[in-house]
Amino acid sequence: MTAAFGKDLLGLESLTGDQIRLILDTAEPFKEISERAIKKVPALRGSTIVNLFFENSTRTRISFEFAEKRLSADTVNVSAAGSSVSKGETLVDTARNLEAMRIDMVVIRHSASGAAQFLAERIQSNVINAGDGTHEHPTQGLLDILTLRDRFGDLKGRRVCICGDILHSRVARSNIWGLTKLGAEVAVCGPRSLLPNAIDELGVRIFDRIEEAIEWAEALNVLRLQFERMTAGYIPSAREYNRVFGISRERLDRAKRDVLILHPGPMNRGVEIDSDVADGPHSVILDQVTNGVAVRMAVLYLLAGGKPELAEAAKGGSARGRESGDRE
């Protein structure tokens, strides 16, 4: 018996709709744990998890760390600055050395697309991709989808538009894969210079004008303009971007219906999103953050269980002690 989706979580592209639903369903009861006075359950007691962050992160790293701690795992944080990475050690050497200290899981964020998969193929520990370059950020995609599902229920036929810097966004890719697998209709909207070539091959609709996107969509996932990844002049200026593509109260007020507003953070207020929208009644931006912990707990829990060799050993041993039979 292996975990419900293999050894690692590298992206949503390789998962089926049922696997995504399993993670979301598993995340549901984990929400309640974070509301308890004692926010901790013993499910991962004794597991050691390394958070290997080669890129800056506040939200994702802290969210993973809370998720790990609330499941009682022991955690170590390694960031590129101040570690041997700054002395030139390769990714694999770093990971192999960590593995020699007997760890169970690695959560990795890296600026290179494919870094998580590269690592997963070379170490035995479970690997969770916390964002690799412009490829995928699966747990962000899952928490966005969970937040949408909280509001909409079944996502089949629901219309979600991802706005802004699609080109540099791993969040966009994970959202597109995940949402389309659950039957949602997905669109993207942004300046053509920030849309990847052949994006329509992922089965998404393209809007060039934000007004059209708002008219069409039931939810907007507003992405951050990733100035740090922009190596050329993709947009004339942040101010012009805001004028043409920014999500403002006036633009939303013109729409026929209320549009749900998501943003993966960190926000550039006044650039891709205006403050009165981010803090407005239809914003679920903070719900996304709350859901992030629950989704990551679910992923950790599902990956941690079911080591096949242990299951074999247990079968040969005494009764495992399932109370009323093996109903589940």
């Binding site: 009861p29 009764a319 109370e323 009323s324």
Partner: protein
């Protein structure tokens, strides 16, 4: 080993047994003050629900009722793997100083109850915790006993006791089935 399913209690017998258990729970607690009934997911929840309604019928008092999913407190995640879906835990009261009666369908090894005790300890410090089970099938692996028992039966290792409740299974009965039939 038996090869076919045997019915231990039918729907009416389950109802009678629960009725007696509800009286015994009130006796054990010397009334309904400070009593909280907590069902263990899944079938324990429906049984707890019925017990609460029976106590209500007999005593005219609706005692608080909670539910507990002990999945995350199990000691076999590494061996058995994750349960597909974890059920909700609902314990919105201050537990300190209360008498908690845990309700489960079948008491076997005692490991579920052990996990439930651990989980309750994370919610507070009850004055006392008791255990009520519909079926005690023996085979304990831990020093745990039930305070209120519906029926005691001897069941071999090769057999399984299934408690079916109408709310989940469309009919109510207790059956012994050979494990190979699962």
């Amino acid at each position: 080993m038996t090869t076919k399913t045997t019915t231990v209690l039918d729907a009416r017998a389950v109802e009678r047994t629960l009725k007696r258990m509800s009286v015994e729970i009130v006796e054990l607690n010397r009334g309904t003050d400070n009593l909280i009934i907590v069902g263990i997911q899944r079938r324990g929840v429906q049984l707890a629900d019925r017990l609460v309604r029976m106590i209500e019928g007999g005593e005219g008092v609706t005692v608080p009722q909670g539910s507990l999913d002990i999945t995350l407190y199990r000691d076999d995640l590494q061996t058995v793997g994750p349960r597909p879906v974890v059920g909700p835990t609902y314990l919105p009261w201050e537990l300190d100083g209360k008498h908690i009666v845990i309700v489960d369908d079948v008491l076997y090894t005692g490991r579920t109850v052990r996990a439930a005790l651990d989980e309750l300890a994370d919610f507070g410090r009850p004055a006392a915790i008791s255990l009520a089970v519909l079926i005690d099938r023996g085979g304990r692996e831990l020093p745990i006993h039930a305070d209120v028992i519906g029926k005691k039966i001897d069941v071999g290792q090769g057999e399984r006791v299934d408690v079916l409740v109408a709310e989940v299974d469309e009919r109510t009965e207790v059956v012994i089935v050979p494990k190979s039939a699962a």
